[in-house]
Amino acid sequence: MRLGQACVVLLIVSVLTFLLVRMLPGGPVQALLGTHNTPGAAAALEQKLGLDKPLAVQFLTWIGSLLRADLGFSYVRQSSVTSLIAASLPNSLLLGVMAFVMALLVAIPLGVYQALHPNSWSDFAATTAAFVLYSMPIFFIGALAILYLSVYHPVFPPGGVGPAGVTDLSWATRLYYAFMPATVLALVQLAVWSRYVRSSMLDTLAKDYVRTSRAQGLSMGQTVRRHGLRNASVPVIQLIGLSLPALIGGVVVVESVFNYPGMGYLLWQAAIQYDFPVILGVTVIAGLAVVLGTLLADLLHLMVDPRVRDGIG
């Protein structure tokens, strides 16, 4: 069922990007070529897009080139979109995964702690902090981080993936440079995720099997580890899967703040320069990332909950 939904998402993204190109001011050829519009290039592009053929054929041509990982050519950058993305994607993945892991590492213990001490002073404080963090514009946190940790106290570099001019970066350097942007990204996510964990764990702790486990002689901590985490993770996995689009939006902003050359930065630069081949390529990849993330969440859900495997619930 979710696989069907994933297909719907991909379909929407591809139709949307396809239509967008056709709707661009000045027509697709003019928009895709920008200032590099020479008669020769225009004719070649027209040929490639099949503009003389019916719209349906044009769409299938577009899908066909997507399937061949041919995302077009950036005339602004004089480079194939695929190679531009290939250069940026690893940086974004590092940033995203780092932020993801950091957010989970804090959100899970925090949410569990709050669920074990609901309505306590610390629960209230954490809830308030999460509320403010959630409403905080990402670039504000990013700017404060740079201001205090790079400008006033030069602890972390203010941006980039590594020292200027250095191409062969070690893992340590990459992690060091990605640390601050990833932390900023993680802060916003963990505000939301700790709420998910808290409410899911509260629901789980009220379940009868938790009482059973206590009656077996397990301590509260043992029970949480033995039954709480696994059961509470079921809705949390789904919610986190659903918050991937927001995470991707956050990546765009964070990379722009820190001039971090990932997919978001690529998208931003392309948008400013009206580099439509790149814009469309990044959009397609973002859609793909969401779909893959959702499928991964479903897979995890399947692993955690045996009832789903047997087709119940």
Binding site: T17, M23, F131, L147, Y196, L239, Y274, L280
Partner: protein, 319 residues
């Protein structure tokens, strides 16, 4: 607080809640009176009224009122021009002449903050309102149609929800150089999804109620049912969600202006001021970071908080 998340949706679809917020209207007393007492929903004080009497909700309202006064009345009192440049006083920290300092071309930041506030509030409120309107129509059609059409329409909503909003906005902003009106349209294109789900859920739960079945059997049309029952019943949920949508829209406007893809210069925006601040962060132009940052934070917190407290007030009246 997780506005726009599916969690809100699930909570609000709760049949108990859907029933509790029903406010019966006079027009339908005939068919309803024919049915057993238990079917007829209870008359309760308007939840909105209850909520707004709530002191916590007032805090949100007061902050929003202060922002409105600052943005719209402020320029009448503070006479400095937001767009006049003065290269003799660039990047000046706050002083008595320029209480919020000046930017990279010597413009008065206080005046620019006020204009930026207008932009944020105009777009935020209008986009949320338009988004809710679209959502109401879409959700009602989907809910009343039912069957195949309903499931196709809802799959589309699910699909749209999976598309990163900001990426979509960047693409649209690059394609169509935005002005305020266009930004409102574009943002409302992303903010109708949750209201559509809510209205659909409200429509479905109404459709299953006996007195609606009775009134439909007596010839009442879908539009009439929508106007008489679903809308009065869902107005609270929609208003609560709209405040979340305003908060989200204000953030989105800020992000777009920050990325240089929002309202084109020289019009001042909070995101744009922040963007300048980051460009001159090595000059330690903290005032270009703190003032817009805090303003956005304040506005977003105020709308989220208002929505939250009103929703909690519903929960209380529901008990």
């Amino acid at each position: 607080m997780e506005s726009g998340s599916p969690q809100d949706d699930g909570l609000l679809v709760d049949p108990v809640r859907a029933e509790v917020i029903h406010v019966p209207t006079e027009g339908e007393s005939g068919p309803a009176a024919l049915l057993p007492e238990s079917v007829e929903p209870e008359r309760s004080p308007s939840p909105m009224a209850v909520a707004l009497r709530h002191p916590a909700a007032r805090v949100g309202l007061v902050v929003i009122a202060a922002l409105v006064v600052f943005s719209y009345i402020g320029p009448l009192i503070w006479s400095a021009s937001p767009n006049d440049t003065d290269l003799l006083v660039i990047l000046q920290p706050p002083s008595s002449v320029h209480p919020f300092g000046t930017d990279d071309v010597g413009r008065d930041v206080l005046a620019r903050m006020m204009v930026g506030g207008q932009v944020s509030l105009n777009i935020g409120v209008a986009a949320a309102a338009l988004g809710c309107a679209i959502g109401v129509v879409y959700g009602a059609i989907s809910g009343f149609a039912g069957g195949r059409l309903d499931s196709v329409m809802m799959r589309f909503v699910d699909g749209m929800l999976a598309i990163p909003v900001l990426v979509l906005l960047i693409v649209l902003a690059a394609a169509f150089r935005p002005n305020q009106l266009l930004l409102i349209l574009v943002i409302s294109l992303t903010s109708w999804l949750i209201p559509a789900r809510l209205i659909r859920a409200g429509t479905l739960s109404m459709k299953s109620q006996d007195f609606i079945k009775a009134s439909q059997a007596m010839g009442s049309t879908s539009t009439r049912t929508l106007r008489r029952h679903v809308l009065p019943n869902s107005v609270g949920i929609i208003v609560v969600n709209a405040t979340f949508q305003v908060a989200d829209a204000i953030l989105l406007v800020a992000y777009l202006s920050f990325l240089g893809l929002g309202i084109p210069p020289p019009t001042a925006t909070w995101g744009g001021i922040m963007s300048t601040g980051i460009s001159y962060i090595n000059e330690q132009a903290w005032w270009l970071i703190y003032f817009p940052g805090l303003a956005i934070l304040l506005a977003v917190v105020a709308f989220n908080y208002l929505g939250d407290t009103v929703r909690d007030a519903y929960d209380v009246t529901a008990r």
